[in-house]
C-alpha cells in the first residue's frame, strides 16, 4: 500500500471500530440468549468484555467506541424501563454512570497494558541486537568487518538506508541522495559531531561521525524516514549507543593510524602521478620546437658542407627524440599505475604492429643489423594496436640498449602452440648482455635495473614493466629467456589467437566479390 501514512492510520482505526461493533453485536446476542434461557436481567457487566478486548487488541479509540455503544445498549436492554433509552429511577441512572466510568477506565487500562507489553518486547529485541552487535565487534578481525557490522546494525535498528562514508572499504557518496550529499561533504570537513537534514522526499537524514574523537573513522549517514521530534531524539540516543561501542572497538584495534597512513600514501601517490602527467605534457611543447628546429638545421643547405656541424644537429635531434621517448614512457607508466589501461580492441594484422614498431625505432636501430622474420600467413589478432606496438617498442629499445653496436637483432612474428591456447608470438632476439638467473627472475618489476648495468647504461627501469602491463591488459603474456651473461636475450609477446571464427565469414565475402568479377 503506497497510501499516505495518515490515510493508512485512519483506515486502521475505521477497521478497529468496525471490529469493535461486531464484538458489541456478539455480546448483545449473548446477553439476549442468556436472558431468554436463564432469565438473567442484569447483564450489563458483560459489555466490559468487548471493551477490554477492543482496548487490548484494537487500541484506545475502538475501545471507547465499544464502551459508548455498550452504555447505550445497556441503557436499552438492561436498565428499566426495558427496550427504551430512558432511565426510570435515579438509582438506575447512577448505575449506568458507574458503568460508563468503569468502561472508560477499563478501555484505557487495557490499551495501555498492550502498549507497555509492546515496548517491553521491542526493548528486549534491541538488547538482543545490541548484544549480538557487541559480540560481532569483539570478534571483528579488521576495520572493514567493524564497518560492515556498524552498517548492518544501524540498518537493522532504523529499518532504512544506512551509508558509511569516508573510511576504508566504506560505501561511496553516490549511495546518498543528491539532496543530502552537500551536507555530507560539509560534515566531512567541519568539527560538528552530527548534522540533521531533510532529503527531497522530506525524509530526515542523520549524518554523524562514527567517533567524536577520531575523524578518520569517517561518517555514517542514516535515513530515519519521517520522524517526529520525540522519535528523532530516541533514534539519536540509540545510534549514539551503537556508535560509541563501535568507536571503542575501532580504537582498540588502532585502526585510526592504519587508515591515516593509507590515506597519506594514496594522496602522495596521486600528487606524484598528477605532477608527472602535467610536467610531461608541458615538456612536450618546447620539445616540439627543439626537434622541429633541429630537423630543419640538419637539412639546411648552409650546413650541408660542414660534417662537424651536421653531427651536432644530429645530436640535438636524436637527444630530443630520446627525451620524447622518456616522456612517453612516464606517461604510459602513469596510465598503468592509475589502472587506466583500457585496451580499445580491434582486428589487427600482427605484421603491421611489428613494422610500425621497427619504423618508430628506425633511428635507434641504426648500426644494428636487423633481420625481420615475419610469417605472412599469421591470423589477425584482436588487440589494442597502439598498446601492443608500445609494448614491442620497449623490447626493441632494450635490445639495442643492452647490445653492442653492430650485433645483430632479429625480430620475428610466428604462430605458436596447437589447437587450443594458440598464440601469435612477436619476439625480439638480441646477442647482447643477456641475463643472469637472478636478473631473469626480477626483470619486468617496476623500476628494476640490473645491477650490472645500473651505472653504465641509462634507463628508468620502466620499459619491460610497461610491456608487461600493456600485454596483460590485452590478454597476452610476456616471456623472457636468456642463455646467460653475454649470450643474448629473447623477449616474446604472446597474443591470444582468436581469429578462427572470423576467417570463414570473410572468405565468403571474398567469394561474392569473385563472382561479381567473373560477370
Amino acid at each position: 500500500m503506497q497510501l499516505n501514512p495518515r490515510l493508512h492510520d485512519l483506515g486502521r482505526e475505521v477497521r478497529g471500530i468496525l471490529i469493535a461493533l461486531v464484538l458489541i453485536a456478539a455480546t448483545t446476542a449473548a446477553l439476549l440468549l442468556l436472558r431468554h434461557y436463564f432469565g438473567i436481567l442484569r447483564g450489563s457487566i458483560l459489555y466490559l468484555v468487548p471493551v477490554m478486548i477492543a482496548g487490548y487488541e484494537l487500541g484506545m479509540i475502538p475501545a471507547l467506541v465499544t464502551a459508548i455503544a455498550g452504555v447505550f445498549l445497556s441503557g436499552y436492554l438492561v436498565f428499566s424501563p426495558l427496550y427504551t433509552f430512558q432511565i426510570a429511577s435515579p438509582q438506575e441512572a447512577l448505575n449506568l454512570l458507574l458503568f460508563i466510568v468503569v468502561a472508560v477506565v477499563v478501555s484505557h487500562l487495557s490499551s495501555l497494558a498492550k502498549q507497555h507489553i509492546q515496548i517491553a518486547q521491542k526493548r528486549e529485541q534491541e538488547m538482543t541486537d545490541l548484544y549480538a552487535f557487541s559480540r560481532r565487534l569483539a570478534a571483528a578481525p579488521s576495520a572493514a568487518e567493524i564497518f560492515v557490522a556498524i552498517q548492518d546494525h544501524l540498518a537493522n535498528l532504523v529499518q532504512r538506508k544506512v551509508v558509511l562514508l569516508g573510511a576504508a572499504d566504506a560505501g561511496g557518496e553516490s549511495d546518498v541522495p543528491e539532496s543530502v550529499r552537500s551536507t555530507v561533504t560539509r560534515a566531512g570537513h567541519d568539527e560538528a559531531l552530527e548534522h540533521i537534514v531533510e532529503d527531497a522526499n522530506t525524509d530526515t537524514w542523520l549524518i554523524r561521525r562514527v567517533s567524536p574523537r577520531t575523524p578518520d573513522f569517517g561518517l555514517v549517514a542514516v535515513d530515519l524516514g519521517k520522524v517526529t521530534g520525540g522519535e528523532l531524539a530516541d533514534m539519536r540516543h540509540r545510534i549514539d549507543d551503537a556508535l560509541a561501542d563501535a568507536a571503542a572497538t575501532l580504537e582498540r584495534l588502532d585502526v585510526a593510524r592504519a587508515l591515516n597512513e593509507a590515506k597519506m600514501r594514496s594522496e602522495t601517490e596521486l600528487l606524484r602521478e598528477a605532477l608527472i602527467g602535467s610536467v610531461s605534457h608541458e615538456l612536450r611543447t618546447p620539445l616540439a620546437s627543439i626537434l622541429g628546429a633541429a630537423t630543419i638545421l640538419h637539412n639546411a643547405p648552409a650546413l650541408a658542407r660542414d660534417e662537424r656541424l651536421l653531427a651536432l644537429t644530429a645530436v640535438v635531434r636524436d637527444e630530443a627524440e630520446r627525451l620524447n621517448i622518456d616522456i612517453q614512457n612516464l606517461l604510459d607508466a602513469t596510465t598503468i599505475s592509475r589502472q587506466q589501461v583500457r585496451p580499445k580492441l580491434q582486428w589487427v594484422e600482427p605484421i603491421d604492429i611489428v613494422n610500425a614498431a621497427v619504423d618508430h625505432r628506425r633511428r635507434r636501430l641504426t648500426g644494428y643489423p636487423v633481420t625481420l622474420d615475419l610469417d605472412s600467413n599469421l591470423p589477425i589478432v584482436h588487440v589494442d594496436p597502439a598498446q601492443v606496438e608500445q609494448a614491442l617498442v620497449q623490447i626493441i629499445d632494450n635490445a639495442a640498449k643492452y647490445s653492442p653496436v653492430g650485433s645483430p637483432i632479429r625480430i620475428a612474428a610466428h604462430p605458436h602452440g596447437h589447437s587450443h591456447g594458440r598464440t601469435v608470438v612477436l619476439s625480439v632476439h638480441d646477442t647482447g648482455a643477456g641475463l643472469t638467473q637472478e636478473e631473469r627472475r626480477q626483470v619486468g618489476g617496476r623500476f628494476f635495473r640490473g645491477p650490472r648495468h645500473a651505472v653504465t647504461t641509462s634507463g628508468s627501469g620502466l620499459g619491460l614493466w610497461i610491456t608487461k602491463a600493456f600485454i596483460s591488459a590485452n590478454g597476452g603474456k610476456v616471456e623472457v629467456e636468456s642463455d646467460g651473461v653475454d649470450r643474448g636475450t629473447t623477449v616474446s609477446i604472446h597474443l591470444p589467437m582468436s581469429a578462427e571464427e572470423i576467417m570463414p565469414e570473410v572468405e565468403s565475402l571474398d567469394a561474392e566479390a569473385m563472382e561479381s568479377a567473373a560477370e
Binding site: T295, I296, V348, E349, L374, I380
Partner: protein, 244 residues
C-alpha cells in the same frame, strides 16, 4: 614551384613552433602566413586564402576541431592537423571532420613537408582529373578501371579494385578504416575492421614485392591506410607478386 609562390597558413599559439615552421616552409619555397588563434585563423582563411593550412589543435580561444569544422563548411583547402599526442580515436575523428592528414608533436620537418605535399598534390589532381596515377611500379588507370604493375595487367576483384581506388584518390594521405569500410561495404560494416585486414593482405600479395614489408600500401596503426609513391625500393617482379 610556379612564379606565384605557394602559400601556407600556420595556425599555432606557440611562437617558437610558428618560428621553426616559418623557416622550414620558407626553405621549401612557401610563402608563410601566421595566425595565433582560431578566430584569427578563420579570418585569415577568408581574407587571404592560402594553398595549405597547418592547424594546431590546442588553441587558446577555441577547440582546433571546431576551427576545422567551420573551415570545412566552405573550404576544401588542404589541411594538416598538429597535436600533442592525440589518441587513435582522436586522429580518426579529425580525419572524419575533413583534415587531410595529421602529424603528432614533436615531429621532424621532413615528415610534415611530405604530408603537406601529398595533400596539395591530391587537391591538384582532383582539379585536373588525372586519369592515371602511379605509385612506384603500380599504375592505376581510373578511366579503364585497370591496375598494372610494371606494365603488367593485374587481375583484381571489384572490392580489391575499389579499395585501391579510394586509397589512390587520397594518395599519400591516410584514409580511415571507417571511411574505407563505409565506402566499400556500407554503413552497417564500419566496425568490421577484419574485412579490411583480409583484403589488404590479399592486395599486398598482389602489389607488394614483399607483402611482409609493404612499400606502397602502408598501415597507419589503429587509424587507417595510406598509399605512397615515394618508393625507391627494389621493383617487384610482376609474376612473383601475382602468383602468391
Amino acid at each position: 614551384m610556379s612564379e606565384i609562390p605557394t602559400s601556407v597558413l600556420v595556425v599555432d599559439d606557440e611562437i617558437q613552433i610558428r618560428r621553426f615552421l616559418r623557416t622550414g616552409f620558407e626553405l621549401d619555397g612557401f610563402q608563410v602566413h601566421e595566425a595565433e588563434t582560431g578566430a584569427e585563423a578563420l579570418r585569415a582563411a577568408t581574407m587571404k586564402p592560402s594553398d595549405l593550412v597547418i592547424l594546431d589543435l590546442g588553441l587558446p580561444d577555441m577547440d582546433g576541431a571546431d576551427v576545422l569544422e567551420r573551415l570545412r563548411a566552405w573550404s576544401t583547402v588542404p589541411l594538416i592537423v598538429l597535436s600533442v599526442r592525440a589518441s587513435e580515436d582522436e586522429k580518426v575523428r579529425l580525419l572524419e571532420l575533413g583534415a587531410d592528414d595529421y602529424v603528432v608533436k614533436p615531429f621532424g620537418m621532413a615528415e610534415l613537408l611530405a604530408r603537406a605535399h601529398s595533400a596539395m598534390r591530391r587537391q591538384l589532381r582532383m582539379a585536373r582529373g588525372e586519369p592515371i596515377i602511379k605509385f612506384g611500379p603500380l599504375a592505376i588507370d581510373f578511366a579503364a578501371r585497370a591496375v598494372s604493375i610494371n606494365d603488367q595487367r593485374l587481375p583484381l576483384t571489384p572490392k580489391e579494385y575499389r579499395l585501391l581506388q579510394i586509397l589512390a584518390q587520397h594518395s599519400g594521405n591516410v584514409v580511415t578504416h571507417q571511411f574505407l569500410l563505409r565506402e566499400i561495404w556500407g554503413n552497417e560494416h564500419v566496425d568490421d575492421t577484419h574485412y579490411l585486414r583480409i583484403f589488404v593482405r590479399k592486395l599486398r600479395r598482389k602489389i607488394e614485392a614483399d607483402p611482409t614489408q609493404p612499400r606502397i600500401l602502408l598501415t597507419e596503426l589503429g587509424v587507417g591506410y595510406r598509399l605512397v609513391a615515394s618508393d625507391p625500393a627494389p621493383v617487384p617482379q610482376p609474376d612473383q607478386a601475382a602468383a602468391q
